[in-house]
Symmetry: C2
Subunit: 211 residues, 2 copies
């Protein structure tokens, strides 16, 4: 599954509407289980049962667990990056940036801090064990970081942030605050530490506001 | 193993010097495998082979994998908290705090950013699947956070930080920056993003320096 998310055309059944529907049902079940339980704590059999598919259907779409893992990484990356793009593209003020923070903290608090970041959590489980997973997750996390850097660059161009603000460093620090916030929130089963972590990063960014 | 780290006295062989040595060898192998591969990617058989013990020796000391997991959490917590205590207790200046940061970044760079934080990584894998693990890890991460808060409180008492600096919030944000730094470093296989994340948090703390 190096093609990442595309439907391999080697088998007739995979291209039929019904085949695509089955593939998508397997993927959704796998994504959910990987997110809630973790990748390594989920077996292919768990995915088969949760998606209501047969062994042969499962193997028709994914030759092994790693193929499924790579497809889930693509799916979750698409989801997270689309969400972030939607929240960040219109940000033109520090208040707008705080609204982005509010949306993340609120989503996290709805699940009592559980499960962490889909991309961050998979990265921790997979980065040192499967280089292809690490690279795919790294590309997504890099894209996320670049979105934050672009947002901060826009704020500087608009004169919201001063010339000496460094979007590269501030963007990296902001993403780290978010990822660390996810870790502490999952551990505390409360979104409170994530809110505090993001607020500290945003306070620091606000200290570069043009007076 | 609810006693966490103590040697259960229910079996004669566990209390002998040889029994203790075997137990410690199993624990060390498990801690290493859990750290490098992850808890859920490691089987009891992997631990048995790595520690050179027999199945009966393993089960004599740990009744199941979860018992071993709880003992490893205790071991890693002890290790991390002792290291942090040693680095933080003498900190009386912002330079001292930057030396704490340097030690963490250097240790992380020696393994090219890999493996993450022993406590943070286990928390991500276990927090939503085993409440006893979550609580044990939460106690350790809380103790770590308190050490940072105490350090920042000391800096305020010494007049290094201004009265309006809030050690609670700054300590939480600093720990989140570190944890997020671990996540990004593991994903990038480079300690660079951890350095940037900690620097941003420390710059923010330094903005409360008494002039």
């Amino acid at each position: 599954m190096t093609e990442g998310g595309t439907v391999p055309g080697t088998s007739g059944t995979r291209r039929t509407p019904r085949g695509l529907e089955t593939r998508s049902r397997i993927l959704d079940s796998a994504a959910k289980l990987f997110y809630v339980r973790g990748v390594n704590a989920t077996t292919l059999d768990d995915v088969r049962v949760a998606s209501g598919t047969s062994k042969s259907q499962l193997y028709n779409h994914f030759e092994d667990k790693l193929a499924l893992v790579h497809a889930v990484i693509d799916l979750q990356s698409e989801f997270v990056l689309a969400r972030e793009e939607q929240h960040l593209r219109g940000v033109k003020t520090l208040t707008g940036l705080r609204r982005w923070r509010d949306a993340l903290v609120q989503a996290n608090s709805l699940q009592d801090g559980s499960y962490g970041c889909a991309l961050g959590a998979m990265s921790i489980e997979l980065s040192d064990n499967d280089e292809q997973s690490r690279q795919a997750l790294n590309a997504s996390i890099e894209a996320w970081r670049r979105m934050l850097i672009e947002t901060l660059t826009r704020l500087r161009v608009l004169g919201v942030l001063a010339e000496h603000a460094d979007p590269q460093r501030l963007g990296t620090g902001l993403l780290a605050a978010l990822q660390g916030g996810y870790v502490l929130a999952q551990n505390a089963h409360s979104s409170e530490p994530m809110a505090v972590a993001l607020d500290m990063a945003l306070d620091h960014i606000a200290s570069f506001a043009r007076r």
